[in-house]
Symmetry: C2
Subunit: 201 residues, 2 copies
């Protein structure tokens, strides 16, 4: 009668199992990204992964679980990418600009990111909130530091963080969901100008 320590019905790791799990995760990303959560059947996922349906349940408790894992995964990847792209840039505005560029580039390469993250609000609201809260926190800290250093004018860092995040999201969506193909560098330049100077003539 154990149960507290054991990992229950999943998390199995040994050699090829790891590979199968990855295959499943990758297949889930592809299928869910294409069809959406509701339409993506376990059958379609396992077919894509090249395994039998039952195999799915060796590694995941259910459909929601892969999904949640996917959301966390993508968040990590994206954060990692952006961190890499902005590491070592001391000027805040410039860091903001490069972060945006990295974000838009990543998104262009992972168009399913939107569907999946956005659908998370309905499938796993906690994962959704965690995803955006984490991003917002990052933005906010950067802005606070910059305000302290006198790089940017004073103002509510949290609101600004959400505003900037909204800009990035919106322009990513403009490209991926609405098919507007303005080159990323042009988008970045426009937004940077907006960041720095605002709208006023």
């Amino acid at each position: 009668m154990d149960k507290a320590g054991t990992i229950e019905p999943k998390e199995p790791k040994t050699a090829r199992g790891e590979a199968t799990r990855r295959a499943l995760l990758g297949a889930a990303e592809k299928v869910i990204g294409r069809l959406g959560y509701a339409e993506a059947s376990i059958g379609a996922i396992t077919r894509e992964a090249g395994v039998a349906q039952g195999t799915f349940y060796i590694y995941f408790k259910g459909k929601d679980e892969v999904f949640s894992e996917l959301v966390r995964d993508m968040g990590r990847n994206l954060r990692h990418t952006i961190t890499g792209a902005t590491a070592g840039i001391s000027d805040r505005l410039e860091a903001e600009r490069e972060g945006l560029r990295a974000f838009l580039t990543f998104v262009a390469g992972h168009p399913e990111l939107y569907r999946i993250v956005q659908e998370a609000l309905f499938v796993d609201a906690d994962a959704y909130r965690a995803y955006f809260s984490t991003f917002a926190d990052g933005y906010r800290q950067g802005l606070e530091a910059a305000a302290l250093g006198g790089e940017v004018r004073p103002g509510d860092a949290d609101i600004r963080a959400w505003a900037l995040m909204g800009i990035a999201r919106s322009l990513g969506e403009r490209a991926v969901v609405f098919g507007k193909t303005t080159p990323i560098d042009d988008v970045v330049d426009s937004v940077y100008d907006l960041f720095v100077h605002g709208l006023k003539r």
Copy 2:
């Protein structure tokens, strides 16, 4: 053998029927807003509306149809509200500010707006695109006119439109989904400052 002109299985209008339809639509808004599309059963909607399940199909072809109608409805309402709030304001930046205030106020009063509109991407992508395209067009036209009039500095109006829309969306979500309760007027002031001056000190 007609069919072209007739309205098929719905659109019936006669006295109380109209009322029932409205009740159903209102119930759908409430229930879908609360539970999300997938979890919202027809049973729950008709129960909320106080009618039998079959009644639902007198007025709507299916679950998707109410949903689509809801999305369009909300878009119209919101647009109407914002138009009303900004009518007669000739200064573009000020109009932008009041539009944002109206938007955030509306959203605070209709927290289910987010769930529903956001879920539309999965249930009825066309309605989703129409919703945001319409908004973006409005923003863009306003910005183009302002640029022509020399009120704002030159720049890509479409990109700016999407950026501003993203800011509004993000801050609405910050309140409704993430429960941050900064007073609307404070949010508006912060964002306005950002609009006008940008971040640079």
